[in-house]
Symmetry: C2
């Protein structure tokens, strides 16, 4: 499949490299066509990897991963052009983290709204599915890195898009019973508001290599 | 030990009954001296159980459990009289849930503040420890009701108070490694903002009998 990955940070690189490893063609999108980090990633990731603007990446991808910083997510999709995300599954990994007052961060959208919903409202033709935002990047694409089973959550309004996301998560190594569908996209509020607990746990453990398992 | 439990709902009853079962003397506090639910609970729970006003309960208790509805927590401690919680460990189980627009609830305090911190600011001499607010009452006092190990979190500014809470949690059946200290009381923001995810999971599972295990 042809997949766009928005964002040149650690999450974008990790997701992009895993997708290439799985045989997909991946274009990493950023603000400019000649972003150095994106070019370096594409060179390292091999011939199925390329880099371009958000618009070029979105046009290229049948599916779009949003791994931009939350504060830049809506702007990235604006720069991509609404027509280039229309009808496509957007896997939104971003978080509304506000580091302006240091660590731990607060959220710049929360409680009665979420970043996922904000993105969906701004681009109503995209099929936004919130997923993977509740853990560190290495675990997103390699759940077996932890010594026990654990869970990833999913929220979105489009069932077909969710089914597509489930298949991608399965290809990352997530077992079907490890993927919990928490409902429509308003449940992204729950997924995003878990981050303040995540950041405190990160502070306590001094390592991001942990995740939640729902025991029941 | 003599313990006060504020709140006559399911959480207060469950905590109170467990404490009586463990041999403590427990006074359930509410707005009025003749609260029917508190009286019925005390009658059922046995001779070590009693009921009274918030002030009577707080005066009685060496430790105070706050199991009131979040919206009434500060008022309950006001009614109790500041002098009656001064110097005492307050185990704050409450959540800032706002059900005014139905289910799932939003939070009436969140992000850059928490109910735990609000209570601590209002009663600076109390030693507020946020704990147990992230799960259903039956699990608080019987963690072994789930088929796997799982975790409870704790946040507070007073180390001696936290040590006391750990001992009480241990008496409830929590193993030392199942209690995660996430830091000072500002971490209550994380514990309280987990609730929007909890409520979505509750909606998905149709049962409150679940909790998170941190896998790492």
């Amino acid at each position: 499949m042809k997949i766009a990955v928005f964002g040149t940070g650690g999450v974008g690189e990790t997701i992009g490299s895993k997708l290439v490893e799985l045989g997909h063609e991946v274009k990493m999108g950023s603000r400019t066509a000649n972003n150095e980090k994106a070019a370096a990633w594409a060179k390292k990731a091999g011939e199925k990897a390329s880099a371009g603007t958000f618009a070029e990446a979105a046009k290229f991808g049948e599916v779009i991963f949003n791994a931009t910083l939350g504060a830049g997510s809506v702007e990235a999709f604006k720069m991509a052009g609404e027509e280039n995300s229309a009808g496509k599954t957007v896997i939104d990994i971003s978080n509304a983290l506000d580091f302006s007052k240091g660590f731990p961060p607060s959220l710049f959208i929360s409680n009665t709204d979420s970043l996922g919903e904000t993105l969906q409202r701004a681009f109503p033709k995209a099929k936004v599915v919130k997923a993977l935002n509740t853990m560190a990047a290495p675990l997103m694409v390699n759940p077996r890195a932890l010594p026990d089973s654990h869970h990833t959550f999913m929220a979105g309004n489009d069932e077909a898009a969710k089914t597509q996301v489930k298949a991608i998560l399965a290809s990352f190594g997530w077992k079907a019973e490890e993927i919990i569908d928490v409902g429509d996209l308003s449940a992204a509020r729950g997924l995003e508001q878990y981050l303040p607990l995540w950041t405190r746990l990160y502070g306590a453990f001094k390592s991001p290599m942990f995740n939640v398992k729902i025991v029941r």
